[in-house]
């Protein structure tokens, strides 16, 4: 009998698939970001919308350009999986809401080209692209990156209309001084530097943070909505609980201890947790698949590290906010964590030696 010609190359099992896909995961993360983003538009008006849009466009554009230059055969498929758009979205969430247009363009370029495509594209990078861009921008352009506006419902001036918003965004209209303010952490840092006691300086700060009614990054808006998004991701199993819990605990525990020891010197746990990019970072940045450890234990360590470093930089460092630095530092440590924290292989002990065989009776 003559074997018939094989038309397809041989493939290995399994011949079934669970149906999960990269696109679905990215879509769910974006869905989880949506409430906080919409609320952010309401808080900060048109300029923030332009910032958000341009960040995403810049990221997607850079991705397309980079893929074209590297001669990738799958440009469309890669763009459609939504990872570049998500990077842009997350970058926008960490920027001051009224940052000028060139910040968005440059940020998107840095995030995608230097943070991601240089390493080979999605899944290959070692640092979180959005955080790379955020830190690079902060270090290079400290002024526009620390210009915080008051949420419009709190401001004395009326919200800028579409045209005024566009002009502010394009830099042809200066940001009115009347609506700028300082973030809670920045305020704490300057007050401390002036030798003031934090207890007096920030009497009733955290209460407004739940609703986002204080100056801050675009995505820091309402802690409540970020938390809801995070819980949605947890429930749909897009993320696991280890990294977020690690971040929150890593900040809360030292903050609580420090506050108990010297309330005038250290912010309390609640103020630390609700301010800055902490919640956003805990649920959306620290859970980034690519740049966090593979194992549950590793992710817990990773989260604790981010939390602790954030607290250290916030409390002792030169910058008021340390989330982005902490994320990058722990990203760098991820391969080391992965090297030492591995799941136990069935039938072996933690060191990889086969289990002892019991003595036969």
């Amino acid at each position: 009998m003559t074997p018939l010609a094989i038309t397809t190359p041989p493939v290995a099992s399994p011949h079934a698939h669970g149906g999960n896909s990269v696109g679905r995961t990215m879509f769910r993360v974006q869905l989880a970001l949506l409430p906080a983003t919409l609320y952010g538009f309401w808080l900060y008006g048109w300029p923030s919308f332009f910032l958000w849009l341009l960040c995403i466009l810049s990221c997607v554009g850079s991705e397309a350009l980079a893929l074209k230059l590297t001669g990738s055969p799958r440009i469309r498929a890669t763009l459609l999986d939504g990872s570049a758009a998500l990077t842009g979205w997350l970058l926008a969430m960490t920027l001051p809401p009224w940052a000028p247009w060139w910040v968005a363009v440059l940020g998107g370029c840095i995030a995608i080209v230097i943070g991601k495509q240089v390493f080979g594209g999605v899944g290959q990078n070692v640092f979180n692209p959005a955080m790379v861009a955020r830190v690079a921008l902060l270090v290079s352009f400290p002024l526009p990156l620390t210009l915080w506006v008051l949420p419009l419902p709190m401001a004395t001036l009326p919200a800028p209309d579409f045209v005024a918003g566009l002009r502010i965004f394009l830099g042809s209209l200066p940001v009115p001084d009347a609506i700028t303010g300082a973030t809670l952490l920045g305020h704490a840092k300057t007050e401390l530097a002036r030798g003031l006691d934090l207890g007096q300086a920030l009497a009733a700060a955290p209460a407004t943070s739940w609703l986002g009614l204080r100056p801050g990054s675009f995505g820091e808006s309402a802690a409540l909505l970020i938390l809801c998004g995070g819980l949605y991701l947890l429930l749909t199993r897009v993320i696991t609980w280890q990294a977020p819990l690690g971040v929150l605990a890593g900040v809360a525990i030292p903050a609580a201890i420090g506050h108990a020891l010297d309330p005038g010197r250290f912010l309390g746990a609640e103020a630390q947790l609700l301010s800055g990019a902490l919640l956003l970072g805990a649920f959306f940045i620290a859970t980034d698949y690519v740049t966090s450890p593979n194992t549950a234990t590793g992710q817990l360590i990773f989260g604790l590290g981010i939390g602790f470093l954030t607290w250290v930089i916030r409390s002792f460092g030169g910058y008021p906010e340390g989330m982005a630095f902490a994320v990058l530092l722990m990203n760098a440590l991820t391969p080391v964590i992965d090297r030492f924290v591995k799941p136990r292989i069935l039938g072996r002990d933690r060191r990889g030696k086969p289990l002892d065989q019991p003595e036969k009776a």
């Binding site: 009998m1 074997p3 018939l4 094989i6 038309t7 397809t8 041989p10 493939v11 290995a12 099992s13 399994p14 011949h15 079934a16 698939h17 669970g18 149906g19 999960n20 896909s21 990269v22 679905r24 995961t25 799958r74 498929a77 890669t78 999986d81 990872s83 080979g120 594209g121 999605v122 899944g123 290959q124 609980w241 698949y289 690519v290 593979n294 194992t295 549950a296 992965d338 591995k342 799941p343 136990r344 292989i345 069935l346 039938g347 072996r348 990889g352 086969p354 289990l355 002892d356 065989q357 019991p358 036969k360 009776a361």
Partner: protein, 505 residues
């Protein structure tokens, strides 16, 4: 259950996957027996170990159940004629294997009489010595029917030697689509229990545990009823979760013990057999019948009339499918042909592949079921790490294999991989992880062979060097000898000449 699940997930005990089992409706339909096909193709290697050696000649007529190929070597199994007829050839047949390569096989033309040879049954197996049971099981060519096809007698006698205490009967059948074990347990529970008792007697275990996934309530009920009077046979439902039917996982769930890596279940006093094997052992001992047929599941969206079919070993998949109503729409929507289950089964290049002892199913899947698509790059989501029942890092291993760093992949556990397919099943990027691992294992085996070859070469080169030295030495010795002889001769001549001169004077 939901809460329990959540707790287990929190505790990190969340191995495996929960695929859509798609066992019904095929599992609920009664078993059909397939009529005898015209020709049977019996590969000489249907089991793990060395291939069997044919003991028949072309043209010879054989009776049903007659030995046609004998076991050779310590780990091997004989092959018997599934029906009476004439041996028409000893040639090659396509193996149930993705490579599409052929295997040597005996081809038997059925004469239609289906006449049994003389069988040597035993009314009271418990009077037999355990070793005798092992011998009979070996002679009947029984192999593990769960899929691995390891000769059962080797396991039984090995277990008896290492004094196992527990016999685990694997009724997990965790592969989606397949329901032949389910069907056997529903229809022949009493016979299976009898087989279990015989095996327990043969291996000397005290307790027999039957593990059945809880998605088969009818089978659990039937087995529990059949084992009712037996204090030492316990039927235990286990949670439906793939790969529950894998030996090490089932042992862990049933007994809480862990088989050491590089070790076997014997080492912790456990012997595992499939339910189908229990039935085959019973037939071999009680009736003296060799293993010549098996129950298999014909399933998949492309099959017109799916169900479980009793098939003679050596029947072509083509004939089995024709019996099951053929393919829908003449196989237009067919995306993949599989022997075995969808998670670990073998893709086959065409349907002219024989059913062997370890074939548990024939699947004809359409494109929606296969859901194949071009893979994306790994996004390191870690789903595979969570799903891996062995605790490996599939993403790291595949990245190393992609860069051909096979030794590095072994360092992080490639050899512990059981190729269950959980990682590839959950991968959002659809990376064919198992293919990477199978490829790497193949490459490593090839390298190992290369190493052995190098060693053999060195030995041969050394021998040649010795030979050359010896030859040179012998040549030198011979030359020396000849020279000595020549000199002696010359001396003698000279002496003789001197004498003549003397004599002359």
């Amino acid at each position: 259950m939901g809460l329990m699940q959540l707790f287990k997930q929190l505790a990190g005990d969340d191995w495996g996957v929960h695929p859509d089992d798609r066992k019904r409706p095929a599992a609920d339909r009664p078993v059909r027996t397939m009529p005898l096909p015209a020709r049977l193709y019996l590969p000489l290697q249907q089991h793990l170990g060395s291939p069997a050696r044919p003991v028949v000649l072309v043209g010879q007529t054989v009776l049903k159940g007659e030995l046609i190929a004998e076991a050779q070597g310590a780990v091997s199994a004989p092959i018997h004629a599934p029906t009476s007829g004439t041996i028409v050839a000893v040639s090659e047949v396509t193996a149930p294997h993705p490579s599409g390569l052929t295997l040597p096989a005996i081809i038997l033309e059925a004469d239609g009489r289906d006449q049994w040879c003389e069988l040597d049954g035993c009314a009271d197996p418990f009077a037999l010595a355990p070793a005798e049971i092992g011998r009979r099981v070996a002679a009947a060519g029984v192999v593990g029917l769960g899929g691995a096809a390891f000769p059962s007698a080797v396991k039984l006698s090995g277990a008896a030697r290492s004094q196992v205490t527990t016999l685990v009967i694997n009724g997990g059948e965790c592969e989606p689509y397949l329901s032949c074990d389910d069907r056997l347990m529903r229809d022949a529970a009493a016979a299976i229990v009898d087989g279990i008792r015989i095996m327990r007697h043969a291996c000397g275990a005290r307790l027999a545990l039957v593990g059945i996934e809880d998605n088969k309530p009818e089978a659990i009920a039937a087995m529990q009823a059949a084992a009712a009077g037996q204090a030492d046979i316990e039927v235990r439902p286990v949670p439906a979760r793939y790969p529950m039917g894998s030996e090490k996982q089932l042992i862990q769930v049933l007994t809480g013990k862990e088989v050491p890596a590089d070790g076997r279940a014997f080492d912790i006093g456990i012997l595992v057999h499939n339910v189908g094997t229990a039935l085959a052992v019973r037939a071999a001992i009680r009736e003296g019948k060799p293993l010549i047929s098996r129950l298999l599941t014909v399933n998949g969206n492309c099959v017109a009339d799916p169900g479980n079919v009793e098939v003679r070993i050596g029947t072509l998949a083509e004939d089995v499918l024709a019996f099951a109503g053929g393919l829908k729409g003449d196989g237009l929507g067919l995306a993949r042909r599989i022997v075995g289950g969808p998670m670990m089964g073998m893709q086959i290049p065409h349907w002219r592949v024989p059913v062997v002892k370890g074939s548990s199913g024939i699947l004809a899947l359409d494109a929606a079921e296969v859901a194949s698509r071009e893979p994306d790059p790994c996004i390191r989501c870690g789903s595979c790490v969570k799903a891996c029942p062995v605790g490996l890092l599939p993403l790291e291993m595949s990245a190393r294999i992609r860069n051909q760093a096979y030794a590095d992949a072994v360092d992080i556990g490639l050899k512990d991989c059981i190729a269950c397919g959980c990682c590839a099943y959950v991968c959002p990027s659809k990376i064919p992880l198992v293919q990477y691992f199978v490829h790497a294992k193949g490459e490593l085996a090839a390298q190992e062979r290369g190493k052995l070859r190098n060693e053999a070469t060195r030995k041969l080169a050394l021998q040649r060097q010795e030979r050359l030295d010896r030859e040179a030495r012998e040549k030198a010795e011979a030359a020396a000898r000849r020279k000595a002889e020549r000199e002696a001769a010359a001396a003698a001549k000279a002496a003789a000449a001197a004498q003549t001169v003397e004599a002359g004077t």
